[in-house]
């Protein structure tokens, strides 16, 4: 018997917050049919919660490969989005959203620092390397409310660089290029880059394992699931066949993440020790993305959080993509001066990013939640703070929302707003779907029209 209490915590009915516990492990559960009465008693009767995530790509995209030349029902997707073709009925593409606060206005150059800093905050950040000033980001306003009901108010993830000091764009602190989420005017929430750290945050108890325990776990190659096996057995015994299958799939997905982590750590220990990647961070972009996004899916599935921001790579990222044959850095390539060859390389990077994202969408789509997919209950925004990275444009920002926001978004189409429509208008409308009501946010001029089913 676990001395800290029962291995599986539950009440008379199966509560939504049921947790499988073991030594150093606390695993939240996905929505099971056995929880339906618990959902019905929740603050939103009969409805699973809506979750939202932002997947941010830097340096803009080649817009002629992103936009379609029509509005209305999505037909064949444009090249940059082609990997999402199987899920196009779940996509709403929005044109002409603008972040005026990302523009130079009177602050001169530094569009990369500014566009990322303003992306979720809707304000023009202070141009400074040391005197940081932004504003509470929209995701954190939502997290403050939605987070009352989840283990983590929000999760901030990244894959590139979490430096918070120094200059990362002309006159702009790295705090602006390396964070999306801001808790206050001066306090960004740095992203977790290391999948192992994210895994332990999600499934750990919050208490660090002793060095001996960790060493033993590594030596034994034991899964975190082994530590909760007793609770799992207890839980399974009370579930119907459908829930048992769902639980098995869910725990298998955690095991799969663990397995990928082990592979990454093993590979990582054999590669060049001077490589700029901390231990446990996969050297392979695709593997890293897969790990991080798998954990986002699990976090949403288990309702560990309802708000995620994912800075795929940082603004101004110089990362080459040798895995797809591109040895040049991403940011220099985006200043292509309309050279066809360079533009083609950027298109390939844009496609590659979306291909990774499509894997995540597939996971979300295949995961069931009640009578819908998990994706149906989410608003996953994939986009960028610049449209044309060559000209540093802050209008017509590439933006898609994947998922139906709990059946409140009419997807499968492309809509185009009037030019100059603030991105913050969309945020206001998303906030409403997350249960937060504000009249104004950032430079909003009203709620975004056109998301609705009607």
């Amino acid at each position: 018997m676990n001395p800290r209490g029962p291995a599986f915590v539950t009440g008379a009915a199966l509560p939504r917050r049921s947790i499988l516990r073991g030594i150093g492990a606390a695993i939240g559960l996905p929505f099971l049919d056995a929880m339906a009465p618990a959902f019905a008693a929740s603050s939103v009767p009969g409805k699973p919660p809506v979750r939202m995530a932002f997947f941010y790509v830097p340096n803009g995209v080649i817009m002629d490969s992103w936009n379609t030349d029509y509005t209305g029902p999505l037909q064949s997707l444009p090249r940059a989005l082609k990997a999402l073709e199987p899920y196009k009925q779940d996509i709403l593409q929005i044109g002409n959203l603008t972040h005026n606060t990302g523009r130079a206005l009177l602050d001169g150059s530094g569009d990369h620092g500014r566009c990322c800093g303003s992306y979720l905050t809707g304000v023009q950040v202070k141009k400074s390397v040391v005197e940081i000033k932004s504003s509470v980001s929209f995701d954190q306003i939502v997290a403050k409310e939605a987070g009352k009901q989840t283990r983590f108010p929000s999760l901030e993830l990244g894959m590139d660089d979490a430096r918070q000091a120094g200059e990362c764009d002309t006159g702009y602190s790295c705090a602006y290029t390396n964070n999306l989420a801001w808790r206050s005017e001066t306090q960004p929430l740095p992203p977790i880059l290391n999948p192992r750290a994210l895994f332990e945050r999600m499934f750990g108890t919050g208490r660090a394992m002793t060095a001996e325990q960790r060493a033993q776990q590594m030596k034994d190659r034991r899964s975190i699931l082994d530590f909760v096996s007793e609770g799992t057995r207890q839980l399974e015994s009370g579930l119907g066949p459908s829930d048992r299958r769902k639980l098995d799939e869910y725990l298998s997905s955690i095991r799969e993440v663990e397995r990928q982590l082990e592979v990454a750590e093993k590979d990582n220990s054999q590669i060049d020790p001077h490589m700029d990647k901390p231990y446990g961070v996969p050297a392979d972009f695709s593997e890293h993305f897969k790990l991080m996004s798998s954990m986002i899916a699990i976090a949403f599935q288990a309702d560990l959080t309802r708000v995620v921001t994912f800075l795929i790579t940082r603004e101004g990222s110089q990362r080459p993509y040798r895995e797809i044959g591109i040895a040049d850095g991403h940011h220099p390539l985006t200043h292509h001066r309309n050279h066809a060859e360079l533009m083609e390389k950027v298109r390939k990077i844009n496609e590659y990013h979306v291909q990774q994202f499509a894997g995540f969408v597939e996971k979300m789509k295949s995961s069931r939640e009640g009578d819908r997919s998990l994706l149906d209950n989410c608003m996953i925004v994939y986009g960028a703070g610049l449209s044309d990275g060559n000209a540093h444009l802050h209008e017509d920002l590439p933006t898609i929302i994947v998922g139906r926001g709990g059946n409140t978004i009419k997807s499968g189409r492309r809509i185009v707003a009037r030019r100059e429509t603030p991105m913050c208008n969309l945020f206001l409308s998303m906030m409403e779907r997350m249960g937060v009501h504000m009249e104004r946010f950032g430079d909003s001029t009203g709620r975004f029209q056109g998301l609705d089913l009607a």
Binding site: S109, T170, G171, A391, T445
Partner: protein
């Protein structure tokens, strides 16, 4: 601190007369002389053809989009009466080059190609230095009165805008002037609440100084055979004809207030009456003044109209003030 660029011109109009179309050309001519920078054009009637034409004019003068030289959208109100669609908005798009292609591209095809005037004005005011912008109103006051109620805009006007020059009203005897009469409540609100000084170029200025229609086939044609404003002039009415010029006068005064083109009344207050007529009451504390025709300046003014409106576009790249920093150079990566 970096030197301020030339003052930004915000031009709000209904484009209902050839005078207002020529005024846009005058403003761009003034931009070419570095006397102002045309920031945005906003239209006060929901006429898509007028917006498409204004957009074509903007593209003609601004040249192709490039880094830091995007063509801003036309602000277009979506409520109210669309009004007459002049052949001046339509016929230029039918003009063709010898190879059969159109001379001017029509890029505004639906309302989504335009912007909400309030949002556009707010966004572009954000990019101006304090006291380094002016407004020219050459149409009903509908848009500018609405802008005063738009969150944050009145304060930005107070901070950034030196003055507003209104082509409207009549100062002296005469019937109500069409721009004022078209939206009397908006005109009243504007004169009462606009936070900075207002100068008015009444209809009497426009009729006293007519734009010479003969210049279209002379000075304009000598510069280029394809000027959208000249083509609009030809389409607007059967040639030859001269045109009144209060909108051009307002634009000229706004960008060159110290050139002595016009005399000025003393300070006072402009009132808008129920029938749309305007009156001016002198008072030391008043923030309004109106332009007074000076016959001795007529020749200079007409010459300025023609030279400025017919001038070859000077493509200016208004880069951010310290845009020489390396992040924006096309081949230089952001610092790491």
């Amino acid at each position: 601190m970096a030197e301020k660029p030339a003052a930004a011109a915000f031009f709000d109009t209904d484009l209902a007369t050839i005078d207002t179309i020529l005024a846009l050309g005058v403003l761009h001519g003034l931009q070419g002389k570095n006397d102002c920078r045309v920031a945005v054009v906003t239209l006060s009637r929901p006429n898509l053809a007028a917006a498409a034409f204004a957009d074509a004019v903007e593209r003609y003068y601004r040249g192709p989009a490039g880094n830091f030289a995007q063509v801003p959208p036309i602000g277009l109100v979506t409520e109210g009466q669309a009004g007459e669609t002049s052949p001046a908005f339509v016929e230029p798009f039918q003009k063709r080059k010898p190879d059969g292609t159109t001379v001017y591209r029509k890029q505004v095809k639906s309302v989504i190609d335009t912007a909400d005037p309030n949002t556009l004005i707010r966004n572009y005011l954000d990019a101006q230095y304090p006291q380094n912008a002016f407004f020219v109103l050459a149409g009903p006051a509908t848009n500018l009165a609405a802008a005063l109620d738009f969150p944050g805009v009145a304060q930005k006007i107070r901070e950034k805008v030196r003055y507003l020059v209104v082509a409207g009203g009549v100062f002296g005897s005469g019937a109500a002037e069409p721009h004022i009469r078209a939206d009397i409540p908006a005109a009243r609100k504007l004169f009462a609440e606009w936070p900075t000084p207002i100068y008015a170029a009444g209809a009497e200025i426009g009729t006293a100084i007519e734009f010479p229609g003969a210049s279209i086939d002379r000075e304009f044609a000598a510069v280029t055979p394809d000027n959208p404003i000249a083509d609009a002039y030809r389409a607007y009415r059967t040639m030859p004809y001269d045109a009144p010029s209060s909108a051009m006068a307002a634009s000229l005064y706004a960008a060159r207030p110290k050139e002595g083109y016009f005399k000025l009344s003393g300070p006072g207050t402009i009132a808008v009456h129920d029938d749309g007529r305007t009156s001016f009451s002198a008072s030391e504390s008043g923030r309004h003044q109106h332009l007074i025709y000076d016959p001795q300046q007529k020749g200079r003014i007409v010459q300025a109209y023609v030279e400025l409106a017919s001038a070859k576009p000077v493509i200016r790249r208004f880069r951010p003030v310290d845009a020489d920093a390396q992040a924006d150079k096309p081949d230089t990566p952001v610092k790491k």
